[in-house]
């Protein structure tokens, strides 16, 4: 090994960083941005102000437990809705959002049992709420043995942790891949001289942007369809020769219309196409497009409600979350696939119209970045 040659290579890389200040900045800025966001999102989460109802189905013994749990819950910072006293009322209160958790005290031949009912749309959110409740329960039962705790949810009842995440992940995967593809593709138009050439023809800027959305839209459509089929469907394939049997597809159970989910994902993809065109203005190399991942994609993953609900974000991050297309895509997908809402639901209508609006706005911004003067 020749030290001179080895050092020449190391020096070449140092010189590259010195010349490409953007990359250099990214090496230092990106980890700070990512760690900062994670810190704010995880550590500075607003304590979830959960509202709880406690229902007693276990006679007089349960009534004492109800009073005790209620007291402990209040001192643990939970809001206790004493007026809800039946299973059905509690269930309805969770659906219309007036309470977050219902505790149902039951008794059967095996002894007392506590059922904790949550919404089931965001598993991470539910887990945090149940965590707080658990402390209250432990306090309520004091030294006595805590009864069996059974967790149930309104939506995604039979499902697993992944099932509730799947809709959000579909939105993320499609947005991410489409953004990277268009970003690099349009960057190559800009640096490869083909954009200059396009602009020396009678083509209109809008025609370029809409053409891009159509062209990538076709592939995004196929991609979205394939991803949804794979995630939602499942086919069992028996063992063939030495190959073990396998289930193709994830078979995530869904409550709502796959078609509506498809429309939401496609709108998200079109927003990603135009965001890619727009941001390609600020890159000179493919390398610099990839640098947008920590700056554009990671914040959306952390803030769009995939893991942490937007309501729990610290004050200054919540408005930012409301500006991100992925926030609406994921909210819409969860609403449709997990809750089973249709287009008549106001949340779905809001998500679809905001996404459509953002797609159009980004298309206009993308058009403005295509200037005749590109020198």
């Amino acid at each position: 090994m020749n030290a001179r040659r080895t050092f020449a290579i190391a020096r070449r890389i140092a010189e590259f960083f010195r010349r490409d200040r953007r990359t250099l900045a990214l090496v230092f800025v990106a980890p700070i941005v990512i760690m900062g966001l994670l810190g704010w999102v995880i550590r500075d989460q607003k304590p979830q102000s959960s509202t709880v109802a406690i229902v007693n189905d276990a006679g007089s013994l349960g009534e004492a437990a109800r009073t005790q749990i209620g007291g402990q819950a209040t001192s643990a910072g939970l809001t206790y809705r004493e007026d809800i006293t039946t299973d059905d009322a509690a269930r309805q209160a969770i659906i219309d959002g007036s309470i977050d958790i219902a505790v149902m005290i039951r008794a059967d031949s095996t002894g007392p049992k506590v059922v904790v009912l949550t919404e089931g749309v965001n598993p991470a959110d539910d887990a945090a709420r149940v965590g707080t409740l658990r402390e209250a329960l432990a306090g309520a039962f004091g030294g006595q043995s805590t009864p069996v705790l059974e967790q149930q949810s309104i939506y995604n009842e039979s499902g697993t942790f992944f099932d509730a995440f799947a809709p959000a992940l579909v939105g993320f995967v499609v947005f991410f891949l489409v953004f990277i593809l268009t970003g690099i593709s349009f960057l190559r138009e800009r640096v490869g001289g083909t954009l200059e050439r396009l602009l020396a023809t009678p083509v209109r800027r809008q025609e370029i942007v809409v053409g891009y959305s159509l062209g990538f839209g076709i592939f995004a459509t196929l991609q979205v369809a394939l991803v949804l089929v794979f995630v939602l469907g499942t086919v069992h394939i028996g063992s063939i020769g030495p190959l073990p049997e396998i289930n193709l597809g994830l078979g995530v159970p869904i409550a709502g219309s796959p078609l509506l989910a498809f429309v939401i994902t496609l709108l998200l993809a079109i927003a990603a196409v135009n965001l890619g065109i727009f941001l390609s203005t600020f890159a000179r190399t493919e390398f610099q497009i990839l640098q947008f991942i920590p700056l554009v994609i990671v914040p959306q993953v952390l803030l769009s409600g995939i893991f942490w609900p937007i309501s729990s974000l610290p004050g200054f991050l919540a408005p930012i979350a409301r500006l991100l297309p992925m926030t609406y895509g994921i909210e819409g997908l969860r609403e449709v696939l997990v809750k089973g809402s249709g287009i008549d639901a106001s949340t779905v209508q809001l998500d679809v119209s905001v996404l459509a609006g953002m797609a159009v706005l980004l298309a206009v911004v993308a058009t403005l970045t295509i200037r005749r003067e590109v020198a």
Partner: protein
């Protein structure tokens, strides 16, 4: 018979500044149709900027450019302009045929015969199914030329078209350029090599964004009393 005396390209007091640099400096120029103009000058003399101003790709700081009587930038007139950029400006994943068809579609020429004709001229018809990625540098230049000419433009800007092209094909290129001029097209061919100058009808010598001189190749030689255009530059640049 009426003779159209409107110049194909009319440049008036054209200036383009980039921050500190004046790339084109108060230029006046009339170019007639049916002629080949050699736009000559060293690197950085303002040739490419002038072409970009004439195609409307750049906006002048002051002054104006009219192409075929229309003030640039004008989108409609771009359908009658052919522009071969210095960079190849082709899609390397697409085949030769797909590249030419794409630019034909953008220029509004949907017929396949035009694409086939232009590919025969640049001798790429036989390779029309080859992806551009697999072409040699010279072949890519030829494809780039084909893309610029497929719509039979009346005004043609060729920014260093013969770089990387072998001498035999270069002769063919010039025969073709001559034929386009005979059909009435105006050609502006930029170059920083001088050996092609003699093939032009008229030379436009640019330096520091200004027109140093213009005239037939023989006139330019006579004016400077040198045989070589390269030397002419050196001589004309003396204060």
């Amino acid at each position: 018979m009426t003779i159209d005396i409107t110049p194909a390209i009319a440049v008036r007091a054209l200036t383009k500044r980039f921050a500190e640099i004046t790339a084109v400096d108060a230029l006046d120029l009339d170019l007639a149709s049916g002629r080949i103009y050699g736009l000559l000058g060293p690197n950085g003399s303002g040739k490419t900027t002038l072409i970009r101003l004439m195609t409307g790709l750049a906006r002048p700081t002051s002054g104006e450019v009219r192409v075929l009587g229309t003030r640039m930038p004008n989108r409609e007139i771009l359908g009658r302009i052919g522009y071969m950029t210095q960079a190849d400006g082709i899609y390397v994943e697409l085949s030769v045929w797909e590249n030419v068809r794409f630019f034909a579609d953008l220029a509004g020429v949907p017929d396949e015969a035009a694409a086939a004709d232009v590919l025969r001229v640049v001798e790429l018809y036989e390779r029309r199914k080859t992806p551009a990625l697999q072409l040699s540098g010279g072949m890519r230049r030829r494809l780039s030329l084909a893309c610029a000419l497929v719509h039979k433009p009346s005004v043609i800007f060729l920014d260093e078209p013969t770089v990387g092209i072998d001498p035999a094909l270069r002769v063919q290129f010039w025969t073709y350029f001559r034929q386009l001029a005979a059909d009435g097209a105006t050609l502006v061919v930029s170059s920083h090599v001088m050996d092609e100058a003699d093939r032009c009808d008229e030379l436009l010598l640019m330096l520091h964004g200004r027109l140093l001189t213009r005239g037939r190749p023989a006139e330019v030689r006579a004016q400077t009393h040198v045989e070589d255009i390269e030397q002419a530059f050196l001589k004309l640049d003396q204060p």
